[in-house]
């Protein structure tokens, strides 16, 4: 029997909300052909977290103020995004190279700072390394609130700007031509993604957060060709993965929740890849379109 105690409910609720937000934000990133930006952003949060910890200590805090660490993570992630854009523009390299440069150097800096913190006398490390691979079981009410806020923002942004975002995703030149600021829209989308990454640090960690941004969106893409439907399906699948993963992890004695959520999402993707009505492998093989 699944133990539906308070803690499990908190974890399941936060994971579901996170999945919803990841599905919505991920759909926009996937259609903008920047699916891997979430990865660069996620890895870039690590030095931000380490610096926030050091700053908190220097200012007389305990280094465990979660809001400060989250703020640092957000600043690190945004610095990474700005870095990718700047490198692309100045060095004229492709986006994937810029992302790999930011990802490698930021994560390296974070790892170096983390080892220094770990070895310092005060440094019981404040559980900083749990942000790398996530530790959903330690989520508390405030994490649920954060996930709820991020999910709400995602839903509001998508509802309020659906027309503009649709244009941005499918016909950027036209969006520009009719006077929409595609730069502002892109920046807004990246801000939302940063929010999702921060909210996901506790649950799945900065490496696996990419899965929540990519897998539900890619699954939805297999199931529909319509923008609105894709958003709804991706959000629903994200939520389902969150709840499914939490349930799956409670089935075994030591199944980590974050990875379970990812595996459930991947299983749904694999199923959709096979049986999706028009784009699935079976349907395409039957129609001779493989």
């Amino acid at each position: 029997m699944i133990g539906l105690d308070y803690n499990t409910l908190v974890v399941a609720g936060a994971s579901a909300l996170l999945g919803t937000a990841g599905g919505l934000a991920g759909t926009l990133m996937l259609l903008r052909k920047r699916a891997l930006m979430g990865d660069a952003l996620g890895h870039a949060t690590l030095p931000g977290i380490a610096v926030a910890y050091l700053a908190s200590l220097a200012l007389g805090g305990s280094g465990k103020e979660v809001w400060a660490l989250m703020l640092g993570a957000g600043a690190g992630g945004l610095a990474g995004v700005v870095g990718v854009a700047a490198i692309r523009r100045i060095a004229r390299v492709s986006e994937d190279t810029a992302m790999a440069i930011v990802l490698g150097s930021f994560f390296g800096l974070g790892a170096a700072l983390l080892t220094v913190i770990q070895a310092s006398p005060q440094g019981n490390q404040a559980g900083l390394s749990t942000f790398v691979t996530g530790h959903a079981a330690s989520m508390v009410r405030s994490d649920l609130d954060l996930a709820m806020a991020v999910a709400l923002v995602c839903i509001l942004v998508v509802l309020a700007l659906s027309k503009e975002l649709r244009l941005l995703c499918f016909d950027e030149p036209f969006a520009k031509a009719i006077g929409r600021s595609t730069k502002c829209l892109d920046a807004l989308v990246l801000l939302v993604v940063t929010g999702v990454v921060i909210a996901g640090l506790q649950a799945v960690g900065l490496i696996l957060i990419l899965a929540l941004l990519v897998i539900p969106a890619a699954t939805a893409r297999l199931l529909t060709d319509r923008f609105g439907a894709m958003l709804v399906i991706a959000a629903a699948l994200g939520a389902a993965s969150g709840i499914g993963g939490t349930i799956a992890s409670s089935l075994g004695p030591s199944l980590p929740t974050g990875p379970c959520i990812v595996v459930v999402a991947a299983a749904i993707f694999a199923a959709a890849l096979l049986v999706a009505p028009r784009n699935g492998l079976i349907a395409r093989a039957a129609g001779g379109r493989l």
């Binding site: 994560f107 170096a112 220094v116 691979t133």
Partner: protein
């Protein structure tokens, strides 16, 4: 703070440098092929690969870990490509799905077996190059760290493959279609280089860690790309960059980091090397010969200076035409106000005029004294004003622009118009050559002659 000993620190630097050299060939290829994130995907596959190796063998034998990681690396490299084709999804997304799923499975397996064997994810992620010199094997009588032997072999193998298949790799990197028509089998070559990348990632995870190998592979190549357009140059520069970063990174980690954080110990060498690589890339971005920030700043300032200098000459010539004279300060203010020149550029431009002997008077002694064009200055000023007025005439006559709409355009074009172009404008503008002296621009101003 630990003191630097070559027997230990030398090996640490050497191992990191070997890793950098081994990464150079596949790294340069991935950067040129715009497939840099594949290094990230493959390196994330190492963790599940190791877990797989343990599941199959039940031991922590390095050979099994190696085999598992290599298999997982190939699965990611080949699998994400196949998924993108089969599922018709974005290649980046396919990569993201494949490696996050494998990483998640790897984490689950590691937690499951945690009580039987100590597989620390952070060790796989960040590596432990600091401990590498302790794990030695004896080779030809000398005891050499195992990591150095492993990375040295991979390094030699990569360089050997690069030498044997250089032409094929070169053509495939820049133009796969051409490689195909030349019968070079670009798919195979790409597969071989991706295999090289996977093998290098796997060999490097023990020492520099699976995530940081991304930095080793991509950043030196991207930095080198700023300096060279030739694949050979990129590979060579990338090797040098990687070696410098290996040295700088370890020095920072072992000598500087402990001083920064009170009572701290050494920082992770691998992390510091990756961070140093980032800093080196930023430095390269500053000083790169053609695309560098400094170079572009200098070019822009030079262009602005030339334009300001020419604007000043034209201004003085027109004032002269009206029989007016101005001083240095007034000229500067006219440039700043009228031609929208930045103040510091205007200051240098005005000074350059007297330095180049284009004006007389107005020396630093008498700033309010009126300055006058020298003969050479008058000739150059006349040529500029001639270009300007010819363009105005051409634009009104041939492009039917209103006379009050042509000044700004002519203002830009006068700076890129030489004598041959002015000849052409006279002909195209159907200006009567015999009555050229009386020719005037749309505003009734006489068009000055070209100096003989």
């Amino acid at each position: 703070m630990t003191s630097w000993t070559w027997a230990v620190d030398g090996w640490i630097v050497a191992i990191s440098a070997l890793c950098a050299v081994a990464c150079a060939v596949p790294g340069a290829f991935l950067v040129v092929r715009r497939n840099a994130m594949l290094a990230d995907a493959v390196s994330h596959a190492v963790l599940p690969g190791i877990a797989l190796g343990f599941l199959v063998s039940g031991t922590r034998d390095p050979l099994w870990m190696f085999l598992g990681a290599a298999l997982a690396g190939v699965v990611v490299a080949v699998g994400s490509g196949a998924l993108a084709r089969l599922g018709r999804i974005d290649p980046g997304a396919a990569m993201g799905i494949t490696f996050t799923t494998m990483f998640a499975i790897g984490l689950i397996v590691i937690v499951q077996v945690a009580d039987k064997v100590d597989l620390d994810p952070s060790c796989v992620l960040y590596g432990a190059v600091e401990l590498a010199p302790l794990d030695t094997v004896s080779l030809m009588g000398a005891s050499i760290p195992r990591a150095a032997v492993v990375l040295g072999s991979v390094c030699a193998a990569n360089i050997l493959v690069a030498i044997l298949l250089w032409k094929e790799i070169l053509v495939t990197a820049f133009d796969p279609a051409l490689a195909g028509t030349l019968g070079m089998r670009p798919k195979w070559i790409e597969g071989i280089v991706l295999g090289m990348a996977a093998a290098t990632c796997v060999a490097a995870f023990e020492s520099v860690g699976s995530i940081l190998v991304v930095a080793m592979m991509i950043i030196p190549a991207a930095s080198a790309r700023l300096f060279s357009d030739r694949l050979g140059g990129v590979v060579a520069c990338a090797m040098a960059t990687g070696i410098v970063a290996a040295f700088a990174g370890h020095w920072l980690a072992s000598s500087v980091a402990p001083m920064v954080v009170a009572g701290g110990r050494d920082a992770s060498t691998a992390g510091s090397v990756a961070a140093s690589l980032g800093a080196i890339f930023v430095a390269c971005l500053m000083v790169a010969p053609r695309r560098g920030i400094l170079r572009r700043g200098v070019d822009r300032a030079r262009l602005a200076l030339r334009i300001a200098r020419e604007d000043a000459l034209g201004l003085l010539w027109r004032l002269d035409e009206d029989g007016r004279r101005v001083g240095v300060r007034e000229l500067r203010d006219l440039l700043i106000g009228g031609a929208q020149t930045r103040p510091w550029i205007a200051r240098i431009a005005v000074r350059a005029l007297s330095h180049d002997g284009l004006v007389e008077g107005g020396s630093s002694a008498g700033r309010r004294d009126a300055i006058a064009l020298s003969d050479r200055g008058r000739r150059e000023g006349a040529a500029l004003v001639r270009s300007h007025r010819l363009w105005e005439l051409y634009l009104t006559r041939k492009l039917a622009l209103a006379p009050d709409h042509v000044h700004d355009t002519a203002m830009k074009l006068e700076h890129v118009t030489d004598a041959a172009m002015r000849e052409r404008l006279v002909r195209e503008g159907e200006i009567d050559l015999s009555r050229q002296r009386e020719a005037s621009d749309p505003h009734g101003r006489r068009i000055p002659d070209d100096a003989p």
